[in-house]
Each structure stands twice: as C-alpha cells, then as structure tokens.
Subunit: 228 residues, 2 copies
DNA sequence: TATTTTCCTGACGATTTGGTCAAGTTTTTT
DNA sequence: AAAAAACTTGACCAAATCGTCAGGAAAATA
C-alpha cells in the first residue's frame, strides 16, 4: 500500500510538479503580456497572479524573455489549424465559411494569445525568429496557391490571393484583439456568443456574396465592373 | 529694419518655440509609443530622439501620460474623416469604395498613429476617456444608420450594419497596424504604393461583389443562400 | 534509511526610470 | 536698458524592477 500511495503521489507530483507550475506561470504571463506588452509586464506580477513567489518563477524560467518566447512558440504552433480549412479539394464557399467560423472560434476562445500575437506584431515582431517568420510565409503561400487554384477554375472572383487572405485574417482577428473597441461600437460591455455568431454571419455573407444587393436594378451597371 | 528683423525672429520663435518643441516631442513620442507601448517607452528615449534634454521634455509635458493622452486626443480628432464618406445621399457602391480608399490612405500615411491606437486598444483602452468612447460610439451609430438606410432601400444586402462597419475598419486598419506581418506574408521587406493599391482593389472588390465568382454555374445553387 | 535531486523562498544588489530642482540663458516686454 | 517671462539643462533622488543567491524543505532514488 505504501508503494501504491507513493505511485499516486508520484503521478501527481513528479514530472507534474514542474509541468503544473510552468503552466500556471505561462497562464498568468499570457494574460499580462497580452494586455501590457513585454515591457509593461512585471514578473513580480506574473508571480503574484500565478500564486508563486517571484524567485520561484525564476527557478523555472531563466529570464522574462524566456517566458515570452515560449508563449510565442506555442501560439504559432496552434496557428495553422484554421488555415487548413482552405484546402484545394473543397468548394470555396464551404471552405471559406468554415475558415471564418474556425478563426472566430479561435479568437473567442484564445483571446489572450491572439492579443499577445497582435502585440508582438505591433512591436515589429522582434521576438519572432527568422524560422518562425518563414513558416508563416510558407503556409500563407500554400493557401494562396489554393485560392489561386479556385480562381483558375472560375470558382472565385479574380482577386489577389494574398490580400484576400489578409482580409480574412484581419477581419476575424479583429474580434479578439480589439474586443474593447468592438464592444464599445456595439454599445455593450462585453461580447457574447450571439455577437460572435452575428459577426460570423456578416463576414461570411459579405465575403462570399458581397455587400451590394444582387437584385439591384442595373442603375449603375455600366460601372459595376469598373472597380476590378 | 531693426523692427522688421525683430518681427521675423518673433515669428520664428515666440509662440513658435513652444509649438516647435512640442511638435518634435510628440513626433518622437508617437513613433516610440506605437512601437513599444506606454510602459515600454522611456521618456529619456523620447528626449533623445527629439534632440532635447530630458528635463526639457518635462518642461513642456508634466508627465509621460500627458504626452500619451495628448497623442490619443489628436488621433481621435482626425478619426472621423474617413467615415464621412459613408453618407446617406451617396450610392453605397461609390461611398464604400471611397471609404476604403480613404481609410487605407490614412493607414499608409499615419502608420504610427494607427499603431498607437491599436496598442491602446490592446491594452483595453485605459487611457481613453469616457467621453471619447462615447464619441466613437456615437459616430459609429450614425454611420450604421446610413447603412441601415441603404439596406431598407434595397441597395445593400441585409447584413448587420455594425459588424459590417467593423469589418471595413478591421480590414483597412490591418495594413497600418500589422505592416510587418503583411510584408512577411507578401514576401517583402516593406509595403509600397502598389501593394496598397492592390489591397484597395481586393478589399473593394470583395466587399462590394463578394469573392464567389458570380457567373458560376448553379452547381450548388440550392445551398447558395443557406449561409445568411 | 541514507543520499541525491528537485523544488522553494526571503533577502539582497545593481541598474533603470519617472520625475524634480535650482541655477543659468535667452527672449520678450516695458 | 532693465525687468520679467519663457526656456534650457546637468545633477540628483526615490521608487521600482530584473535577476541572484544561499540555505532550507520536499521528493525521488538507491
């Protein structure tokens, strides 16, 4: 029995004691970094929020930057998933709708991570390695190729694939990063599930079908294609 | 002549000496704040960039916050202009295209200000007064009403006006705030005029007409309206 | 049980930072 | 020209902050 007990304790501590504490630190850190940026965040505060003494935080992470870059890494790791919706074998209508939905969902559930990333971008991406940048660029290229494929098949209007992707990204990202403005704009304190659903519908509708009412009389028809 | 000379000197200094120095300080500050955020910016650095000794900066601005809020103010002051394009007496197609163009132009010319604002939003808008928030909300409501009017006249698809506006804002804003990502995505070092033009075209095209190719055969026609 | 490894933490140090001040210079006004 | 007002600045300070460290507690291993 003593043996069994030891095993249980072991399961809860060994390997776990470190994992658990690191997790707590990172959790506190992502929230603070995302709000206050790298410089604005005090590790004393990270320590306080995570319930550990400051020196203990330093036991697990050598420097403040170590915590930060660790977060950036794990963020980028989960970044690609939504983009996978944009695959060549799907119909653009369905794929794009799924992408928007997935991205918004991500924005809603991982608000802090999103903000952290935005913060990092605003700072010029100083803490993102060359490799990581190349990765972002690579997956963007892949997806741009898919879009280009759709266009060639006549399934999509001939827009610039890169800017189109940026547009989708920007729109969905916005709801995570600027939740405060968005809430103010909508006259609310906080965004709820219904707001995100309304956002999703609006974005999908506009991106797929455009904002101009399709049944509009050909009043300006002679100019309707001038834009492109 | 002595008199004339005095007058000239006066014009260049009196009233100007303050104006000029404040301008230099603010110019340096907006660049730094926009990159490093409020906490990340050292006023010693502001002083250095603006070429003044630190104590002199404090002669013109009582605190760091004073500089910051001053910038936020002047930013919001120039904020409404682009939105004015969305007016009830214009055709939506033309008005929206003009708005996107104007907003992108602003993003391009006032990159730092835009980033500063984004930074402030990420932080939750701590330094924006209640009045200023109300102002943002008020002008958004006005424009949402215009959009709603267009929809009622059948000129616009029945989308949520607020989310539609947010979408436009997000998309255009993105190019200022995340220029670094955008550049990486496009595989460039920096965005030039042509990039912004391509962005404009893409956004306008998608927002007005949608991404789905209009002449597509009615393959999925039975589902084509499912989304909304 | 003994020993080794991992974990914990209060106290401390070096440095940085926002902000002050007093003494001076330049400009404006009278 | 003299007095007043506006501007300039090197030196300084108190508080905050990142990171260190030594010594002890807990846990794993033998």
């Amino acid at each position: 029995m003593a043996k069994a007990k030891t095993a249980i304790v072991k399961a809860n501590t060994e390997e776990h004691i470190r994992a658990r504490n690191e997790k707590m630190i990172l959790k506190a850190a992502v929230e603070l970094f995302s709000r206050k940026g790298f410089d604005g965040t005090r590790i004393a505060e990270i320590a306080q929020v995570s319930g550990l003494p400051k020196a203990n935080v330093y036991y697990y992470f050598a420097t403040k930057q170590a915590i930060y870059t660790r977060l950036i890494e794990s963020l980028l790791a989960g970044w690609d998933k939504a983009l996978e919706h944009i695959s060549a074998d799907r119909e653009p209508r369905e794929a794009l709708a799924a992408y928007v939905a997935a991205k918004l969902e991500y924005s809603r559930k991982h608000t802090s991570e999103s903000r952290l990333f935005a913060n990092e971008m605003l700072g010029g991406g100083q803490f993102i390695s060359r490799q990581q940048k190349q990765h972002v660029r690579a997956i963007t290229r892949e997806r741009a190729a898919v879009i280009q494929g759709w266009i060639k098949k006549g399934k999509l209007a001939p827009v610039d694939p890169n800017h189109f992707l940026i547009m989708l990204w920007a729109t969905t990202q916005f709801y995570a990063d600027f939740a405060s403005v968005t809430a103010v704009t909508l006259g609310k304190g906080r965004l709820n599930g219904a707001d995100f659903e309304e956002a999703r519908k609006t974005i999908v509708e506009v991106v797929l079908n455009g904002a101009i009412a399709p049944m509009e009389p050909a009043k300006n028809s002679q100019r309707s294609l001038k834009i492109r």
